[in-house]
Amino acid sequence: MKKTSLYQKHVDLNAKMMDFAGFAMPIQYTSVKEEALAVRNKAGVFDVSHMGEFIVEGNDAIKFVDFLITNDFLNAPMHKAIYSPLCREDGTVIDDLIAYKIHHDRILICVNASNIEKDWKWISSQTDHFDITLNDRSDYYSLLALQGPESEKLLSKMGILKNPNLPYYSALEINFMNERIILARTGYTGEDGFEIFSSAKVATLIWDELLGLGVTPCGLASRDVLRLEVCYPLYGHELNDELTPLDSGLKWTVKMDKKDFLGKESLSVYSPKYRLIKLSLDRGIPRESYPVLDGNENPIGKVTSGTMSVTTGKGIALALVEKAKFPADKELFIEIRNKNYKANYHTKPFITGGHK
């Protein structure tokens, strides 16, 4: 199993460690609830060094990334971060990623740890006709995510964030400790926060300093609860090799008015089979793969992610249901251990994160 540069720190903190995408990762340190609430109310730090980083450099860097992804990268302002699915020609989702416009000729792509190899194979097979070089820097970069309302103040204090007006979903390459690091105002929690791409050495220093300042170390379990509360999809759950972005509520990331991108032709004529919906329960906790039923108790789909929300105290879920079977009256049930629980249908995320 692979280890991140902070592995020993996690072990020393007595974290519960688990294999995630081939990495020994901290799942929780003390309490999932305390960790998640620290991010909502103060600040928490995650070691997410397992994530993959590809660097695209060259004259066509922006054009190349724009061609790869379904979202608009070409017209995004300099330093902007763009969330997007990465699709095959048939429109199915290879991965979802964030592309950072660091410079006009230097783009960082951050991908899911579980998909690094698959993404690399795909992306490196698409470089013909583009003046670019592509590098997999996943082994070099450590990645810390500092998340929560106090993040800005903390990074300013540490001298990392020089311009507190750095907009949400943007990134800068900066000098820190005699090193070029990438400071991005992004995250996976819905709160304001930053992701810092750096060497192992700098990541260790920043980690220690943040913990010294009282920041809560947070594991992947709280990260999953936090992203689910704000309804961010997770690859392998809401997205996979068989679905298109249009099945998973990501129509807003597919820009059909773009000149060309991988998957455009198929997606332009595709009519989605599924609909991704948000459900909560007044009692009981929905879990992945629990059946979703209509008002007549006929199965129409399945929960893709479910948990107890630490913020609302209710069971919450994302579920994929067959579009054709979705009932107009929105009367829905989730089956838990052979009992049907009435589900509340939500049009908005369960909570509104505090990000800028």
């Binding site: 799942i27 929780q28 309490s31 999932v32 609830k33 379990a221 999953d224 609860v225 009981g284 906790i285 879990r287 948990t307 107890m308 630490v310 069971g315 251990r337």
Partner: protein
């Protein structure tokens, strides 16, 4: 180190039992609550339900996990701790005060399967 009271008997599934005549009180151990983390949901059986040894009688859920509860003995459910349904976190704060069910034991031979505090301690150390 987990707390293992001397006056109780245990199972390898991390449940504790306390005998009082032919009534056994059942709960989960300090080790169990610690491994589960924040407990947010408890489902208990109906009073009157007959349980065989190792029948699933309920469920305890933390934020991220679902665990079945297995009956350490055969018997009839005579009482459940309804307070837990509304306040499952009591299992974290006081696992030995927060019992789950009481059974009227139907097969005394099964009592020999239960672990002494020393045996349970060894079980924890070996796992």
């Amino acid at each position: 180190m987990s707390n293992i009271p001397q006056d109780l008997k245990y199972t390898v599934e991390h449940e504790w039992t306390k005998m009082d005549g032919n009534i056994v009180t059942i709960g989960i151990t300090d080790f169990a609550q610690g491994s589960l983390g924040d407990i947010v949901f408890v489902e208990l059986p109906e009073v009157g339900r007959e349980l065989n040894l190792n029948d699933a009688f309920g469920v305890v859920e933390s934020i991220k996990s679902v665990s079945d509860l297995y009956s350490p003995l055969s018997g009839v459910v005579v009482e459940i701790n309804e307070e837990l349904t509304g306040a499952p976190e009591l299992l974290n704060s006081g696992p030995y005060d927060s019992w789950m069910i009481k059974l009227k034991v139907s097969n005394n031979n099964e009592l020999t399967n239960l672990l002494s505090p020393e045996q349970y301690k060894t079980h924890l150390e070996n796992n």
